[in-house]
Amino acid sequence: MHIVACVKQVPDSETLIRVKPDGSGIEEDGIKWVMNPYDEFGVEEALRLKEKHGGDVTVISVGPARVVDTIRTALAMGAEKGIHIDDPALEGADAYTTATALAASIKDIPCDIIFCGQRAIDDDSGQVGSILAELLNIPQLTIVTKVDVEDKTVKVIKPVEGGQLLIESSLPCVITAQKGLNEPRYTSLPGIMKAKKKPVDVKDAAALGISVDPKAKVTKMIPPPGTPPGKIIEGDDASVTAAELVRLLREEANVI
């Protein structure tokens, strides 16, 4: 099987995010950059399928020079090769534009399954996987927690409101990974050493033959609204504080 895993480099989830005073973006100094956790589930699943069915895994990332670290992490986990799409014009690009770049880099390589994270934990947009599937004219299986490949079909579990679905799809397809799909492996020292020798192609928009034509733009970043201080219900007697809480929820907040 030929498998592609798309990965995005994002600030670690414990990072404190500070908006620049002019609202033009976030302060990038001091950020610890990591592989988007949902993409990591995708890389892990790609590797497991390769180990079971044979084949190879190509990892693709869009972003500036620092993104190479994330590609190398995926290579250290066991992927065979990397593609780094590096073009200033794609910096902060909208989902459609990013998917266009990914599609252009994938269309000429043989590929049975493309994994993406179900969303990235920076822009929380959750669109790229589906747009990519549309641009490649293949089916999408989004927000998936289990993947089984049999011959030329794949069966997945997708949690929905009030239950889950078992869905079958033809290959090739795009699968977007949800937490619960697997437990990603740690990189080993030999893995990290090997990763240094694995090939990473660098391409820009011109090399991919795409034009960057924005569909959406972030016009302003805003710090979250401050929460006014709440009410601490004082007292040592739980029956008293509990009764007061119920009264407040009923009479003041009107929520019960």
Partner: protein, 328 residues
């Protein structure tokens, strides 16, 4: 020129999902500002009868396609039918719910229609005739204002946040031909496994009671379950509780779990790590019960009790039961 505010209404088993009325309310507000019409698209099987109901929530016209192929949602047929109608009518704005189905459908439509979308929005407004959407990014650590540069300007709306509107006018119902016979079906739903707990899904719940590391073990969740029963609530959990294997993945609220915005969120024994707060800070009323006075969750709570949850929570349950018995 692109004109009209459109939405995709979502139904399940022949009944509208509440979020569809919220999306209709948001569409009505934008349309009134623009002086345009609100049109809804409704797909399903045996659903023609419910279409008119959308009028009460601000929709002027409902385009309905009733077909057995729409009985179960699949990306293939739903996206083809919606895209066909949108291309024929060229609306300025297209709104969907950021539900499981809405997320899958909306992002495929972005690809088909080659446009931009702001997903999981918490606010929408019109500035100089264009849609400006506000959405949480970095899991709510900050917000982004997004302008869509192409039409239809698309947005998906976070459930439980947008107010519904009441409307006296009945909606005009128009049947349309979705032309899906030629659509190649590449995916198929083989099985629907329904959750039998009888509780409302977290993302749709009005009230959520969540337990975290302070629960000390899976055996203690009966305390939470009893409170949830008394409130008619759904049970949630923090990442710590899920990662410890105490609760299923589907219960997790937070940055790597479900994003929720209920009317009332009760956090029991949850410290309030930033990734948890990200998942629930848009709740309308937050209660925190935690014995650590420095727990960050207390800073986000409307009401806090600094005490042992195993003492307080059963008392709250008892108090609620008293109210119920008195029939209040």
């Amino acid at each position: 020129m692109a004109k009209g505010v459109w939405l995709v209404a979502e139904q399940r088993d022949g009944a509208f999902r509440k979020v569809s009325f919220e999306v209709a309310g948001a569409a009505r507000k934008l349309a009134d500002e623009l002086g345009e019409e609100v049109c809804a698209i409704l797909l399903g099987h045996d659903i023609e009868g419910i279409a008119g109901e959308l009028g009460k929530y601000g929709v002027d016209r409902v385009y309905v396609a009733d077909d057995v192929a729409f009985e179960q949602y699949t990306t293939d047929v739903y996206s083809a039918a919606v895209a066909k109608l949108i291309k024929e009518n060229n609306p300025s704005i297209l709104l969907l719910a950021a539900s499981v189905q809405g997320k899958d459908l909306s992002s495929r439509l972005v690809g088909i229609l080659a446009t931009g979308m702001a997903s999981d929005c918490v606010d929408l407004k019109i500035v100089d005739g264009s849609l400006v959407a506000t959405r949480p990014v970095f899991a709510g650590k900050c917000y982004a204002e997004v302008t869509i540069l192409t039409t239809p300007q698309m947005a998906s709306l976070r459930p439980n946040l947008f107010p519904t509107v009441e409307n006296e006018k009945a909606a005009e119902v128009v049947k349309f031909d979705p032309a899906i016979d030629a659509v190649e079906l590449k995916t198929k739903v083989l099985e629907i496994q329904k959750d039998t707990s009888g509780r409302v899904d977290l993302t749709e719940a009005d009230i959520i009671v969540s337990g975290g590391r302070g629960m000390k073990g899976p055996e203690n969740y009966n305390v939470i379950e009893e409170l949830a029963d008394a409130l008619g609530a759904t049970v949630g959990a923090s990442r710590a509780a899920v990662d410890a294997g105490w609760r299923p993945q589907s219960d997790q609220v937070g940055q790597t779990g479900k994003i929720v915005s209920p009317n009332l969120y009760v956090a029991c024994g949850i410290s309030g790590a930033i990734q948890h707060l990200a998942g629930m800070s848009s709740s309308k009323c937050i209660v925190a019960i935690n014995k650590d006075p420095d727990a960050p969750i207390l800073g986000k709570a409307d009401y806090g009790i600094v005490d042992d949850l195993f003492k307080v929570v059963p008392e709250v349950t008892k108090e609620l039961k008293k109210l119920l018995e008195r029939g209040e």
